[in-house]
């Protein structure tokens, strides 16, 4: 592990020196647009996964119970999921749905599909205030 990470650290350090005078926290309108587009691409992928694109052994898809990603309440996570008896992140509830109504295999919490699903779920809930812990 150590031997593989060290060269990367070195390269990164060189990169910073080469960039010279560019300030780390200065960015342009073009940067903002690009970053938003990257996120929107993830939303679009998530929207497709949510509407039948996810591998589902029994063909059931997320949108069948959650049109427009409603009744998921991403703004309330992490929260005490009373049915699981512990505080969980949203990804754990998504996996519960994948394993039960969809009768399929859960995703790693950092699986790109899991990230895209959450991009879409949050996008449909945009503007709603955070209420961590709310049931």
């Amino acid at each position: 592990m150590k031997t593989t990470t060290r060269p990367y650290l070195l390269l990164a350090a060189c990169g910073i020196m080469l960039a010279g005078s560019a300030a780390a926290d200065e960015f342009t309108k073009a940067d903002l647009d690009r970053w938003q587009a990257e996120y929107q691409a993830s939303v679009d992928k998530g929207e497709k996964l949510f509407h039948g694109g996810l591998k589902s052994k029994n063909t059931v898809s997320c949108d069948q119970c959650h049109p427009n990603a409603t009744n998921i309440h991403p703004e309330t996570y992490p929260k005490f999921q009373q049915q699981l008896g512990k505080v969980v992140v949203l990804g754990e509830m998504i996996n519960w749905c994948i394993m039960n109504p969809l009768e399929s295999e859960p995703l790693a919490l950092d699986d790109p599909d899991m990230v895209d699903l959450q991009s879409y779920i949050h996008w449909e809930r945009r503007g709603v205030a955070l209420e961590p812990g709310k049931h």
Binding site: D63, H66, P67, N71, Q83, W96, N100, R125, V128
Partner: protein, 358 residues
């Protein structure tokens, strides 16, 4: 193996229900006065969304919902005069799904009257459904009540005939509730003309009960909780003293009163849907009268699903929502108030935390 388990589960649940003396059914009662021999009840089961996976495999969860509703309906005492099935037997209109659904429904004791849902229709435009079940709009009289069934899930010809490369694609598009490429439901001119003629023969003091799959009122267009020509249909119903509209599609408790017309929805046997107000990016028009069903607990597979038992003792309907894994609800027409009222939760101060959706 699974057959014997199912049977055991059925027997266990059936006897528990009998012991409890209450049934998770939604009953509709049409009433003519307390001890009138004309009083009768009927059961109302809807939205089973039987889904073919492959070969002989179907989605177990949705099968179980319909099987349970039928088992419970068969336990009703006194027996309902008949049963209405409110539409969406199938998920994607496939013959396998309609056949499998009808095989499960064949266990029902008594006559069943069927309503067409969009999931039954948009693969072959209802051909197989009609071949199995007959016309998709019809009327009949029963003990002084005139019943009308409409196919309310039609849409613009262009969307139906010109927009999609295949029938399967059209079905998939209409099966997606939140589809921005979708199209609003409607009864259409031809059926409205038929309805007008049908009602011309009926005296205005005859109680009317109208069944449609989509609500004949406008609640939220984005999910087709909506019928585009609702006002035109309502206008045809307006001259009658007592009118009740019963509809499926929405997978949740809704009720409303518009002039002389009472509206009551059916729960799905398959799965519940959120209330449109929980979608924060669009406005919706949920009837203020409605006290929401409890929020579903997904860990209880049948929670927030159910069926209804209906009384007709006043010529209006009393809907008993039978809710497995939850407390049953009764929404009855209140003559004094002039609209449907929940028997327990109607007043704001009587509501409970699970009825808050967000």
């Amino acid at each position: 193996m699974s057959k014997s388990l199912n049977r055991r589960e059925f027997l266990k649940r059936g006897s528990a229900l009998l012991a409890a003396g209450s049934l998770p059914l939604s009953l509709v009662e049409v009433a003519f006065g307390k001890n009138s021999p004309e009083n009768f009840t009927f059961a109302y089961v809807s939205d089973s969304h039987i889904t073919h996976v492959k070969g002989k495999e179907f989605v177990r969860n949705w099968d179980r919902g319909l099987i349970r509703a039928i088992a419970e309906t068969n336990l009703l005492d006194p027996r309902p005069d008949f049963v209405f099935y409110g539409g969406d037997i199938a998920q994607l209109g496939k013959r396998e799904e309609i056949d499998h659904g009808l095989e499960i429904l064949s266990a029902l004791r008594g006559d069943v009257h069927y309503v067409m849902g969009e999931h039954d229709y948009y693969l072959d435009l209802g051909d197989y459904w009609r071949k199995q079940l007959g016309p998709d709009h019809y009327s009949f009289d029963h003990k002084g009540v005139h019943f009308v069934v409409l196919n309310s899930i039609l849409t613009f010809d262009e969307w139906t005939h010109d927009k999609w490369p295949s029938a399967e694609e059209r079905m998939h598009q209409m099966a997606r509730l939140d589809n921005p490429q979708g199209s609003p439901f409607m009864v259409g001119q031809a059926q409205r003309d038929w309805l007008k003629k049908d009602l011309d023969k009926i005296s205005k003091d005859t109680p009317l009960v109208v069944l449609s799959h989509s609500p004949l009122q406008k609640i939220y267009k984005g999910w087709n909780f909506w019928t585009d020509d609702a006002e035109q249909v309502q206008a045809l119903l307006k001259p009658f003293n007592k009118v009740s509209v019963l509809y499926g599609h929405v997978h949740q408790i809704q009720y409303n009163q518009i002039g002389n017309i009472s509206f009551n929805s059916a729960m799905a046997t398959a799965w519940p849907w959120p209330y449109p107000a929980s979608y924060k990016q669009a406005a919706s028009y949920m009837p203020k009268l409605t006290v929401d069903m409890n929020r579903a607990n997904p860990f209880f597979e049948r929670d927030a699903t159910g069926w209804q038992f209906i009384n007709t003792h006043t010529g209006n309907v009393d809907v008993h929502y039978l809710l497995p894994d939850n407390t049953n609800r009764v929404v009855a027409y209140d003559r004094k108030a002039g609209h449907p009222v929940d028997s327990e939760y109607q007043a704001a101060e009587d509501r409970i935390p699970p009825q808050t959706h967000y």
